[in-house]
Amino acid sequence: MAHPIERTRSRVRLQVNGERYEGELDHRVTLLDLLREHLGLTGAKKGCDHGQCGACTVLVDGRRANSCLLLAVAQDGADVTTVEGLGPAGPNPLQEAFLERDAFQCGYCTPGQLCSATGLLAEAAAAPGSADLSRAGIAEGMSGNLCRCGAYPRIVDAVRDVVAARENAAPGGAVRGGAVRGEAVHGEAVHGEAVHGEAVRGEVGA
């Protein structure tokens, strides 16, 4: 049975960094290409273009995602935040922490790292019981963002600083509880390397 490919373009409406976008797009356009090539938002980077490096990370309806693997047409109606939208009125505390900790060298992965860390902190705030904001937990939570310069320890430092600031602002608060649990339980993941580069995620519900 032949099936006519009636249309290969569609109207797409999105909210990007608080502004409305509406346009007719070829179905092949990824969210990353829409941002970079159509909207001039070049913060999100095209690293691998296959979901393997995280440089294209943006927030879609508040959740971090690799924009290179999302078809723009499939995101119709979504609310997208890129690194340009994180601190519209100047660097936000996370961005300050990256500066303070020198959490980069070349800076290519940084927009993705910032969006990913924003997503990580939001996930922790939404599910305090299961969030792990220990150093090992942050490293695991940020593992979808590669850094060729190897700034990982400082990226973890920067995220920890923001976590610590939040804990101090709300002593005994939700985020803190998660961190304490994580520190105690998840330490194992780091030492998992001993057995053939293995990570142990054996603690859920254990």
Binding site: R28, G54, R63, L71, A74, A139, S143, V195
Partner: protein, 330 residues
């Protein structure tokens, strides 16, 4: 990429009709695998039927005390669901051991089960590959196959299935619900993926045009001690070289119920029924566990460059089973 039509139906019958079982149609979940393969030219659909508009994105308790996971439930949502974490922790662990937080936010339960192999020859359209192009040969057999299968492979294909989630489902005795032009059916999760045999182009038992609508977790395995462990080249964000899902229920020092499955070793999650047989009713001592696991892996047929997987899988399985046995004693 070839131009394609894009549809986002809101009802199941419309979705099945839009796909029509045609060779050029593909269902779209999160797209984290399909869009990747379209960029590589491995997939070139003329029509995408996006399933994310269907009401398939919830986790619900069933009347018999099990769980029904809609195929549209995102991997992150699945892993953080309180009932999954408390009743079927091996499933949450397996999902969290896969991919990255970004990918898990987007990837769906159905898409995860139906993701294609990561065999580099399959992903490179310039190379021979019986799975991508039946009859063209298997580039990996005499080529680079360090990540490939040691169990159940065929002369035609030595690929492994990359899903972590599927390995956990195999030990939970889950089933997969399918809906197609001929109605609804359900298949055991352990029989959902195929061995390659003569037809490596067929990863699963899904018929053209069928939609995975849900995964069903039975009440029998709810709350039983279970665990997932994965070995990979780096500590996170890498596919399994070998992984193990195990469920071990011990009463009066004897194994009452056991299920063991390997990931990364075969074209499908490898349910270790020989090992299970030996352990059922036994006292799970170190010797008993080791003998059982070794009996299972005795049938392994490693290739030139992947023999390391056999001891790796053995050690992982012994470690996980013995940890479960220790936990039961204390």
């Amino acid at each position: 990429m070839k131009p394609f039509a894009y549809l986002r139906p809101t009802g199941l019958p419309e979705a099945v009709a839009a796909h029509g079982g045609r060779p050029g149609s593909r269902y779209l979940g999160g797209g984290t695998n399909l869009v990747d393969l379209m960029k590589l030219g491995v997939e070139a659909p003329d029509t995408l039927v996006d399933l994310t508009g269907l009401p398939l994105a919830s986790v619900e308790e069933t009347s018999d005390g099990g769980l029904r996971i809609g195929s549209g439930v995102r991997n992150a949502t699945l892993a953080s669901h309180p009932l999954v974490r408390t009743r079927y922790p091996v499933l949450a662990q397996a999902v969290l051991a896969g991919a990255s937080a970004q990918l898990r936010n987007v990837a769906t339960t159905g898409g995860n089960l139906l993701q294609r192999t990561r065999c580099p020859y399959f992903q490179d359209v310039a190379k021979p590959c019986n799975k991508r192009e039946p009859g063209s040969g298997c580039g990996a057999r005499d080529g680079s196959h360090r990540d490939h299968a040691v169990l159940g492979h065929s002369p035609q294909c030595i690929a492994t299935h990359p899903s972590d989630l599927a390995v956990a489902l195999a030990v939970l005795d889950a089933s997969v619900e399918l809906h197609g032009p001929d109605g609804t059916r359900s298949v055991p999760a352990a029989a959902f993926h195929r061995l390659p045999g003569e037809h490596p182009e067929r990863d699963t038992v899904v018929e053209p045009g069928e939609i995975v609508t849900a995964v069903l977790l039975p009440p029998e395995t709810a709350g039983l001690p279970c665990r997932y462990r994965k070995a990979r080249d780096r500590a996170s964000y890498a596919f399994a070289l070998a992984s193990v899902a195990a469920l071990l229920d011990i009463a009066d020092g004897r194994v009452r119920r056991v299920a063991l499955a390997f990931g990364g070793l075969a074209h499908r999650p490898w349910r270790a029924s020989a090992a299970e047989e030996l352990l059922r009713g036994a006292d799970p001592t170190e010797t008993a566990v080791r003998q059982a696991v070794e009996a299972e892996l005795a049938g392994a047929q490693p290739l030139r460059d992947n023999a390391y997987k056999v001891p790796l899988a053995r050690n992982l399985a012994c470690d996980v089973l013995l940890a479960l046995a220790r936990a039961a004693r204390s």
